[in-house]
Assembly symmetry: C2
Homo-oligomer: 342 residues x 2
Amino acid sequence: MSGSHPPSERLPFEALVQLLQTIFVRHDVSQEVAQVLAHNCAAAQRDGAHSHGVFRIPGYLSSLASGWVDGRAVPVVEDVAAGFVRVDAGGGFAQPALAAARPLLVAKAREAGIAVLAIRNSHHFAALWPDVEPFAQEGLLALSVVNSMTCVVPHGGQRPLFGTNPIAFAAPCQGLAPIVFDMATSALAHGDVQIAARQGHAVPPGTGVDRDGQPTTDPQAILDGGALLPFGGHKGSALSMMVELLAAALTGGNFSFGFDWSGHPGAKTPWTGQLIIVIDPDKGAGGDFAARSRELVERMQAVGVTRLAGERRYRERARAQVEGVEVGREELAQLVALSLPA
Amino acid sequence: MSGSHPPSERLPFEALVQLLQTIFVRHDVSQEVAQVLAHNCAAAQRDGAHSHGVFRIPGYLSSLASGWVDGRAVPVVEDVAAGFVRVDAGGGFAQPALAAARPLLVAKAREAGIAVLAIRNSHHFAALWPDVEPFAQEGLLALSVVNSMTCVVPHGGQRPLFGTNPIAFAAPCQGLAPIVFDMATSALAHGDVQIAARQGHAVPPGTGVDRDGQPTTDPQAILDGGALLPFGGHKGSALSMMVELLAAALTGGNFSFGFDWSGHPGAKTPWTGQLIIVIDPDKGAGGDFAARSRELVERMQAVGVTRLAGERRYRERARAQVEGVEVGREELAQLVALSLPA
């Protein structure tokens, strides 16, 4: 939450899911899609990942109203090979496409040892960790990449080309919640820049440039014709390029620079692709993978690491289970208004 | 090359391969293994990747003489599932294990759309890009990770735990050499620290810490009981953790902290594991993958990127094809001496 701690309410997770689902359905989204998006968005809010929580609802609705994304799209799953599943998301959201292909993907990963899901013609407007964490809950490893929209200057370049292009990874860990990370390959995630702009905070040096290509710590200057930089210089930039190749070139989705939404004022959701690789660790020769990942975690703690990947989310989740999910009072009032018949 | 440009010779690539092969064979390495290692090391030298070129030969020989690595190991390939191949490298080098499993891995990737090779009980003392580039030469995508030896402090930790844990990726590109990158997840590769120490150069700020955990730009202080830092803060650290999980926990290889070579003075080669994922892009819905990756490259050039991933290596390679592979005069004399009967 922000430093100023505006007044907030807490409500049960399922109530928030229901509220968001009602909002989506009232804004031209099918029941099936609304259910998936509502759960995804409520889970981010529950876990304290506020840049992908209810903060995103106006963006979803703006994009839907613009006719840019199809809230009623029915994904088409294609069984391509022993380890390869494709989905045409039909110009709808990526999460229902993943949900539709998930059983086949998991069956293939368990049978072949590894399987890949290539989603195309899809809009991803959410965090990436909710896509991978459930695989680790089932004892599998998952790696996912998604490209987004031109807003990151490649290392050595002068103008933006790549998206924020996150990479997410999840692995089971014996006796603990899965190890999960989700990192933008940009210095900062786009949602965090928006949050900083809304709250009037500066962003760290090295995050981005203004419209003239000059370094800036003003998030609004980054959003107003400026651009982000990759994290870690040429290495983060190479990873971002890899995400374009895997999430777009391989799947058949658009590159981050490959779509033109100028004819849809209000469009916010990038129309690209997503790749998910799932591995069955029981096929490895490592014995009990979860026991070994626990060993790694314990050794990390022994050298002084106090905060593990995903730990903050699990802590917020546990608190929300007892006390309810925190939503700003003003935000909640807006959500309730959006859920009512027009 | 160093700023001081010591005198050097140029010799044909095949002559360098033959020289290195002879050296390996004279130091208790089988013909089969010697051939693979000699080609790998000569290719790094040819491509200007000097930290993994002939500079490494003394380390190889020291490790072999210590009895730590088996230069005569015969890898055992296991066909586990439609997309999963395992290799027990038998305490030998990783590259001959990859060579032994490669035909099966490629066949599975083309059939299943994706396949993974899990190498364990292996020593990897080379660059990682030579392992992935050949897949892209055949029209496939390849992603590989290998863990190494404790020398990197996890983000938020006080003492080293991870290895330099590189990630390499290769993809075909129409009309151009494959797009290939190979990045340590440490701020600098271990070989580059050794080169800097040998040449008396400082390393960039943020590269590492001394034995007291204090930041230093002295490469010798990093090598003498100090440690490296991950690149890009918590993000590079998370990627390094992922490499430990994939290359060690999944394969059944040792973690970077999981082996004790104190009983083998002179041992230099980390005894860990390696993972390689190979994808057939023809299974995607992107049409001609190589044409799309070419499109990406052209767009990168259009926003001002002048140096592409792998480009410097290809330039050095082309020059070496005409003029021969450059080797320092003194180094070459040492190599010749090592190749002669004792």
